[in-house]
């Protein structure tokens, strides 16, 4: 079965927006908000400013969607808008943008090391820790076949095809196992994420 390539999901969501189904953009916002906040947070060093700039970035991206040609990944395109918006913001506040561009290749690694002011908030830290603990516990409680498939996908970043080769089962089974693993984890963390 032919599968979509990595950037196809985003491209297709953009296509849906072009087709008039503007809600597809909501999926893109939810998909990239965390990465974007991490990136912008590193530039401006203030979580609240980072939120404002992230909001502005998504708005600019939506307005400029006609410029997205699908030649690069959607996140790469979004990333450039975010960097530009953050730099403009810093300049407008009389602050100096970072001397060097944040390299998108280093993006994920650096995000893990970032120290934002928000990190010092004990309540936020506690909430994050609690969520992380619940997720770890949910993963540990998964049946082995689900846990293996989920781990290979989420931590090792393997494609379904590659997982298929490792686990010796059809692609459909891999897909189903990963889905069931996500559902199981979701059931555990939902109470933590939804209002009473």
């Amino acid at each position: 079965m032919a599968r979509s390539s990595s950037k196809d999901t985003d491209e297709q969501l953009v296509e849906r927006v072009f087709s008039g189904e503007t809600r597809a953009f909501e999926l893109l916002v939810l998909r990239y908000q965390h990465r974007l906040l991490g990136l912008i947070g590193r530039l401006v060093r203030d979580p609240h400013e980072a939120e404002d700039i992230a909001q502005e970035t998504f708005i600019k991206a939506y307005k400029a969607l006609g410029n997205f040609r699908g030649e690069s990944a959607f996140y790469t395109w979004l990333y450039r808008i975010a960097i530009n918006t953050a730099n403009n913001y810093l300049v407008s506040r009389g602050r100096r943008p970072p001397d060097t561009d944040v390299d998108i290749d280093d993006d994920e690694q650096i995000e893990a090391q970032v120290a934002l002011a928000d990190h010092d908030d004990p309540a936020s830290n506690h909430q994050r820790d609690e969520l992380k603990k619940a997720i770890d516990q949910a993963i540990a409680e998964l049946p082995e076949d689900l846990r293996t498939a989920f781990t290979l996908r989420e931590f090792s970043g393997l494609s379904y095809e590659e997982i298929t080769e490792i686990m010796g089962c059809p692609v459909g089974t891999v897909r189903s196992r990963i889905f069931r693993a996500r559902e199981a984890i979701d059931n555990k963390i939902r109470p933590l994420l939804e209002p009473d």
Binding site: T22, R23, L30, G66, R80, A123, L131, I135
Partner: protein
């Protein structure tokens, strides 16, 4: 977690209406999205997380967003888990970012700042052959609808003006809309003069006949447009605005 910052992202609170505050206005496909079992849709979401979903699944998921908040909430939670596992949850928004984005876009649409010139921009791109194949095809499909809407929107004022003058004068006064008028009117014999705001066109009998036919053709569509469909067309155009030069330059130079 008590008063959890994560709870501020109440997806359920955002989901009424589209990103522009309106539903897409498109008819649901043959397989009605609302009839698809929830588990199947969530499995599609899971595949979309991994960029392993089929095109049809993605289309179904997007269509299903209109049927309730659950899917979007699922999508969000899946990404919170991923962000946590990949240490990207260092800053969870303290505000509902999606709701804020939607509110801003709705505001801009209401203020007319999301203009319908997007399709003109896109048309320019298509003429120049700039856009890549797949996006170009989809954009082209959208453009057809947008162009029809634009033609009708231009045609409707013409109808009003022409009806006033029909039968009494061989001159039709066409207000405003300089460029579209040239593109829309049938070719006419006779004198032609233009000013910045109005054009006076002198017509011989044959040309007047053609013009009246054209107006009649518009009138049928315009009547439909004047009912509910007008909003749909306008809303299709509203979300798209011409790019800000700053963004465009930035995106292209990097």
């Amino acid at each position: 977690m008590g008063n959890n910052i994560l709870q501020n992202q109440s997806v359920e609170g955002n989901i009424e209406g589209g990103i522009d505050g309106n539903s897409s206005g498109f008819a649901v496909e043959e397989n009605r999205a609302s009839d698809i079992p929830r588990a199947e849709l969530v499995e599609s979401l899971s595949a979309m997380m991994d960029d392993e979903a089929e095109s049809l699944e993605i289309r179904r998921v997007v269509k299903s967003l209109e049927h309730g908040p659950e899917l979007l909430a699922h999508w969000r939670r899946f990404h919170v888990v991923r962000a946590s596992l990949q240490h990207e949850l260092d800053q969870e928004p303290t505000v509902d970012l999606l709701a804020a984005v939607k509110a801003r876009l709705a505001e801009e649409a209401a203020a007319g700042r999301l203009s319908n010139t997007f399709h003109q921009n896109l048309l320019g791109r298509m003429k120049q052959g700039i856009m890549g194949g797949k996006l170009m095809r989809v954009a082209g499909q959208g453009l057809i609808a947008a162009s029809v809407a634009a033609a009708i929107l231009v045609g409707y004022p013409m109808l009003n003006v022409a009806q006033k003058g029909a039968g009494s004068n061989t001159q039709a006064l066409v207000a405003d809309r300089q460029a579209p008028v040239r593109d829309t009117l049938p070719q006419m014999n006779g004198d032609y003069s233009a000013s910045p705001l109005t054009r006076t066109v002198s017509l011989d009998d044959a040309a007047r006949h053609r013009l009246e036919n054209a107006v009649r053709n518009f009138s049928g569509t315009a009547a439909v447009l004047n009912s509910n469909n007008s909003r749909m067309f306008v809303n299709q155009l509203e979300p798209f605005a011409p790019p800000s030069p700053a963004i465009e330059q930035s995106a292209q130079h990097r």
